[in-house]
């Protein structure tokens, strides 16, 4: 440790301000001064079911990392702020993290929030990391916006190819929610499926507030697809599938990680049989840590988490952050948005406990895609792509 680190906090702040560093993270004297971790999530609002479980996973990660010594003796201190998945509140949260908590980096999720926070992160040179949203636009939001969660082009591309090549379906219908998530993903599915040689015979968007899908489903039914891909959110996907089955459509349904949800099985019962979903995190059979994670959830919360794969990422982000800080400290640098970002790009390959290997590819990240299907009322692994 160099002498620099023994300066009293005030003086260091003054020096830092004088040298114009953005939000200097205070390097401290030897001791247990905590490192603050920021994760902006929807803790209330319609997405809170996921948001709260993500936050719980963060807490589990922080506890484990702190119990194991933290970052060279310094514990993490988790600060979650509520965004309600609303861009305006996301902006407030980002400002709080940067200006009030003086964080050099923060984590976020939900595409609209990620996008709204991007200008602030870029302006203030604070590292913004997406750990849950999948809009492909996230890869182009700016110099300080990165993702550790694979964007839609990763899993949807592989899914579409699998459907055509392995499942042998030549025609598909794509039904998607008319928002960020749905529009981008639907286009990717259609383009990939068509390129592989298939034909998308119905391509319909539905309003996020819709509750009745008869017309759209009849259109899809009339087009006679061999398989149907539904890209919605947790609230509407089960309704679309339910109405689909009630209209006599028996085709297999594919969706993405939002449908990988035990409540959906409850609501649909037998109608969910055969459903194929993607997961961007290894399952119980692929990684022993996941089983332990689930056990912990059952013990602490008496249930399985919503969006298990996403929760695995949240847990891993604590470990990931630890790696970034350790790198920066080893180089004797203060932890700023720039140094942490450079650490991210320099380390490039991360071995994380719950999600396995993560390879940062610029503003994108590459991960294997796990397919699961519903058999006899439960999700079972189908394939790893």
């Amino acid at each position: 440790m160099t002498a620099r680190l023994i300066l009293p906090r005030r003086k260091l702040l003054a020096t830092a301000a004088a040298t114009g560093l953005a939000a200097p993270f205070v390097a401290r004297a030897q001791g247990k001064e905590p490192i603050k971790l920021g994760s902006a999530l929807p803790l209330t609002g319609s997405q809170a079911g996921y948001g709260n479980d993500f936050a719980a996973s963060w807490r589990m990660g922080v506890k484990d990392v702190n119990d194991a010594g933290g970052v060279n003796g310094r514990p993490f201190e988790l600060i979650t702020l509520d965004t309600q998945a609303d861009p305006q509140l996301g902006i407030n949260a980002a400002n709080r993290y940067i200006q009030v908590e003086k964080l050099p980096m923060f984590f976020t999720a939900w595409s609209a929030v990620v996008k709204a926070q991007a200008p602030i992160a870029n302006r203030e040179k604070v590292l913004e990391i997406n750990a849950g949203a999948n809009s492909p636009e996230i890869a182009t939001l700016g110099d300080f916006v990165y993702t550790t969660f694979p964007l839609a082009d990763v899993d949807i591309t592989k899914l579409a190819k699998y459907v055509f090549t392995t499942l042998g379906k030549k025609t598909a219908a794509v039904l998607y929610i008319n928002n960020d998530t749905g529009i981008d993903a639907a286009k990717i599915y259609r383009d990939t499926f068509t390129e592989a040689g298939g034909k998308v015979v119905a391509f319909e968007a539905y309003d996020p507030k819709a509750t009745e899908f008869t017309g759209m489903l009849l259109k899809a039914r009339a087009a006679n697809p061999e398989i149907v891909h539904i890209h919605g959110l947790t609230a509407d996907t089960p309704q679309v599938i339910a109405q689909m089955r009630q209209l006599g459509m028996t085709q297999r349904v594919t969706s993405y990680s939002a449908a990988y949800n035990p409540k959906l099985l409850q609501q649909l019962g037998a109608a969910a049989e055969g459903l194929i979903v993607t997961s961007l995190a290894p399952g119980v059979n692929d990684n022993p840590n996941v089983g332990k994670f689930l056990e912990r959830w059952k013990t602490e919360q008496n249930r399985v988490p919503n969006g298990l794969p996403y929760c695995q990422y949240q847990y891993d982000m604590v470990v990931f952050t630890k790696m970034l800080y350790e790198y920066v400290e080893k180089k004797g640098q203060p932890a700023t948005g720039e140094t942490l970002r450079d650490a991210l790009l320099a380390i490039k390959e991360f071995e994380l406990p719950m999600t396995g290997k993560m390879i940062i590819d610029g503003h994108r990240v590459n991960k294997p895609v796990y397919l699961l299907t519903v058999e006899k009322g439960a999700f079972v692994p189908l394939a790893t792509l």
Binding site: L43, T44, G45, A48, N52, A55, T80, D82, Q84, D86, P87, Q88, I91, N92, N95, R96, I98, Q99, V100, S111, A112, K115, A116, A118, P119, R123, E124, S135, E137, L141, N178, N179, D180, I183, P208
Partner: protein, 284 residues
């Protein structure tokens, strides 16, 4: 601190919205719920121009945003008021809902994902304070403009028109063109607020402009005191600052937002029961 500056900027912007809304409904007596959509028209026009037509200076874009809002408002009021004054409410509801739906569905405006990457105008550490100065000045200008309009001879004409339209028309004054003028001024100001918003936050999401936002603005007006010049300012400060202050109470997240909402709505209800003329008094 930028955090406080952002809240102050929002207060300034909403002061413009509340003031202009007050002009339209409080002074002009025109029932409308479409104020957020003119906010949106200004914001999106400015944003789109900033993104696609870089050679226009930011001030120009904001002015063009205002102009777009004015044109839209004249079209709306012109057609609706021809039927009856009450029709404006219904027409404004339809306009608000329809145009927002359009914004959500056009790729050109960024669709439901919103318009992002609006270019930066001011950069550097003084960005926040400078923006605050600009928005604050605009807010003050708006409040005083409204005050001047209603306190002058034009204002007396407006009062006469609002309170006794039949007599007003009988005296040969043109109520219709006056109503349209007020509506246009009010909506134009809202459009200007939108332009400022677009430049400060550099991101627009259609959901921010939905019809419930008009309830929020209306509440600001009523709480502060409808028909008073400074009432909307007080209302804007209260409605934006109180929820933020509540977030510092460190409540557990699951109860934070609803508790915030409860505190806030109870406050408003108490005011409605106990002091309906608003904080600054004014006409009951």
């Amino acid at each position: 601190m930028d955090y406080l500056v952002t809240i102050a900027v929002l207060i300034a912007i909403y002061t413009i919205l509340a003031s202009s809304y007050n002009l339209v409904i409080g002074y002009g007596g025109l029932s409308t719920v479409a104020h957020p959509i003119f906010f949106a028209i200004g914001a999106y026009t400015t944003g789109l121009l900033a993104v696609h037509v870089p050679f226009i200076p930011p001030v120009g874009n904001v002015v063009l945003g205002m102009a777009a809002a004015v044109v839209a408002s004249v079209l709306l009021a012109g057609s609706a008021l021809r039927v009856s004054g009450d029709y404006l409410l219904i027409a404004s509801l339809g306009f608000q809902l329809g145009l927002l739906q359009l914004l959500k569905n056009l790729e050109f405006t960024g669709g439901p994902g919103g318009l992002s990457a609006i270019p930066s105008t001011i950069v550097g550490p003084m960005r926040g304070p400078l923006f605050l100065a600009i928005c604050g000045a605009a807010a003050l200008a708006c409040v005083f403009a409204v005050r001047t309009i209603v306190n002058g001879p034009y204002g007396r004409a407006i009062s006469a028109m609002r309170d006794e339209e039949l007599a007003f028309t009988a005296l040969g004054r043109n109520a219709m063109s006056m109503k349209i003028a007020i509506f246009a001024i009010g909506c134009g100001m809202a459009g200007g607020a939108g332009g400022l918003y677009a430049y400060y936050f550099q991101y627009l999401s259609p959901d921010q402009f939905d019809v419930l936002a008009s309830a929020a603005i209306l509440t600001m007006v009523v709480l502060g005191g409808m028909g008073t010049a400074f009432g909307p300012v007080v209302g804007a400060i209260l409605l934006l600052a109180i929820p933020q202050a509540i977030t510092f109470l460190q409540l557990p997240p699951a109860i934070m937002a609803p508790t915030q909402g409860i505190i806030f709505t109870v406050l408003v209800l108490l005011f409605l029961y106990l002091r309906p003329s608003g904080i600054l008094g004014g006409k009951a």
